[in-house]
Subunit: 303 residues, 2 copies
DNA sequence: CTGAAAGCGCTTACAG
DNA sequence: CTGAAAGCGCTTACAG
């Protein structure tokens, strides 16, 4: 075949928009350039950022991702996992809405690599999660740096490891002058907690670290309703950086971002490496959180 | 081959967990049992319910779905569409965050069927969207049935068709005693609107229909802060049924649900039908909204 | 009714 | 260096 012919063929192929059939390729290469994201987070609060990170990392590798939302239904889970295996995904990323619960499906002994992100993984697997302790430390330290000396902690149910980690960080920095207030992940609980705190005798807190943004929002609202100024009288910091809540609070919440997108990116890259046969050390990888400064804590944002 | 042998083979196949390679199957059948969901709704507010509907309708047909979030980046859009076509998806569902904007990618003349859900479609395509006019009618009628006679409408930017449709429905039922207040889709605007309404001379509204739940939340908060009781003095109804906002408002919001999940289900079924070669009438299919009664409008919930 | 062959669209390894 | 063949894992159509 002459140079010229070869060129002509190539040109025509490009012109005509020839695209090789990825399915046929996969049949040979054992690589489908497809991965599955399995989650029970129907609301997408945690899974969407993770998903965004995965896509960001893998889109230009030509990898597409199947999103499978399985609620808490083992049967649905099996259906989705089987469908993914039949389609020969290169790997699976399991995700969820809390780091101390497993998805209702058995992902061990699959013929493809599995990586866990923001959900509890199998013992010898690779698991990514946010560093709750470090994130909480960031928040409480900021309150201390702002000169706050009576810092309270209003948070979610003690059954969550995240809650325990965060309050452990709080305790370490603040001691036990104030009780940690455990409750629901709701605004109702935030209001209740503020009522408790302000009805108690003795000096009131001048800083409140909240277990999530919903609680923080209610705390800020509750304070305003009592005529207490935020951030002048009391500094409030939340957790999650859930835009819809944090940005709409009056004043907008300073809060902790878990960097879920970075987490997704790492998980994506890792599952790809595994799929390509690279060895990856198993274990729990903890990614740092970040302080997002808005207006609910006051002070110089460059502190 | 004896009956017995055939049985034994089948049994062994099941035992050993034999699963046919879907990729190989696809090569022959021209069906990959895979569809793509393309969206620019990074937050997932609208796309996630649509996605849930699609999955619900198609999971037991063995169809998996690629989720592709393309922000507003045409280049990214093309990358994803090409990746999907290479993988021979059976069809594509385009979705978005408003019904009068197109995705930044050309989906005409693709070799696979395309269906639009909650985004503007190509002229001769199948498009699904919620019935804004009917939804707004539901809300305003409810306010009227509750005996409200001075009903105001606080909503988003007039540039949205949804906004214009909803206010057209409002106008039709209420007349023009009150101006329609157009603004941002934010709580800040809700507060501002209440300030305007309550500073104006003359009788105050006794019912407020809001363009979305964020505005409604702020309206309820603003009213409470002015000592106006909701729902005793003023009935408020929102739009969207965005759980995180509607359920946490004090009192929780009565609101309109666009039935996005049903929309996703229809879109999924339709794209599948097209993939199977069935003819589908092009055009815009409008799905009805639903009134979700909580406590912000008062009255008998069975009205 | 059973069993072997041809073919889906590619890539890899091998013979000329 | 070029070109034909074999094969990935299936299904379909055809010959015995």
């Amino acid at each position: 075949m002459a140079e010229e012919t070869r060129d002509r063929v190539k040109r025509m192929a490009a012109e005509i928009g020839f695209r090789p059939n990825a399915l046929a390729k996969s049949l040979l290469s054992n690589r489908s350039f497809t991965i599955g994201l399995l989650t029970n987070d129907t609301y997408g609060r945690f899974t969407l950022p993770v998903m965004a990170g995965i896509t960001e990392a893998l889109a230009d590798h030509g990898v597409s991702v199947f999103l499978c939302t399985i609620e808490d239904d083992p049967a649905l889970g099996k259906v989705h996992v089987d469908a993914m295996l039949d389609k020969h995904v290169d790997g699976i990323i399991a995700s969820g809405k809390r780091i101390d619960r497993r998805l209702p499906v058995d992902l061990s002994n699959l013929p493809v690599p599995v990586v866990y992100a923001f959900t509890e993984g199998a013992p010898d697997s690779v698991t990514f999660c946010a560093d709750d302790f470090q994130g909480a430390t960031l928040a409480v330290k900021r309150l201390i740096e702002l000169g706050r000396r009576r810092i309270a902690h209003v948070t979610g149910p003690e059954s969550f490891v995240s809650v325990r980690e965060r309050s452990r960080a709080y305790r370490g920095l603040v001691g036990d002058a104030f009780p940690v207030l455990y409750g629901e992940w709701s605004e109702a609980w935030g209001h209740e907690a503020i009522a408790k705190l302000w009805m108690a005798p003795g000096p009131k807190p001048d800083g409140i670290f909240c277990g999530n943004d919903q609680i923080a929002r209610a705390v800020v609202d509750g304070l305003r309703e009592r005529g207490v100024r935020v951030p002048e009288d009391v500094s409030v910091i939340g957790f999650d950086n859930w835009e819809i809540v944090a940005a709409q609070t009056r004043p907008p919440l300073t809060t902790i971002d878990m960097n879920l997108k970075a987490l997704g990116r790492e998980a994506g890259l890792t599952v790809l490496a595994l799929a390509e046969g690279h060895a990856v050390e198993p274990g729990i990888r903890t990614l740092p959180c970040e302080l997002i400064v808005r207006q609910s804590c006051g002070g110089d944002s460059k502190l």
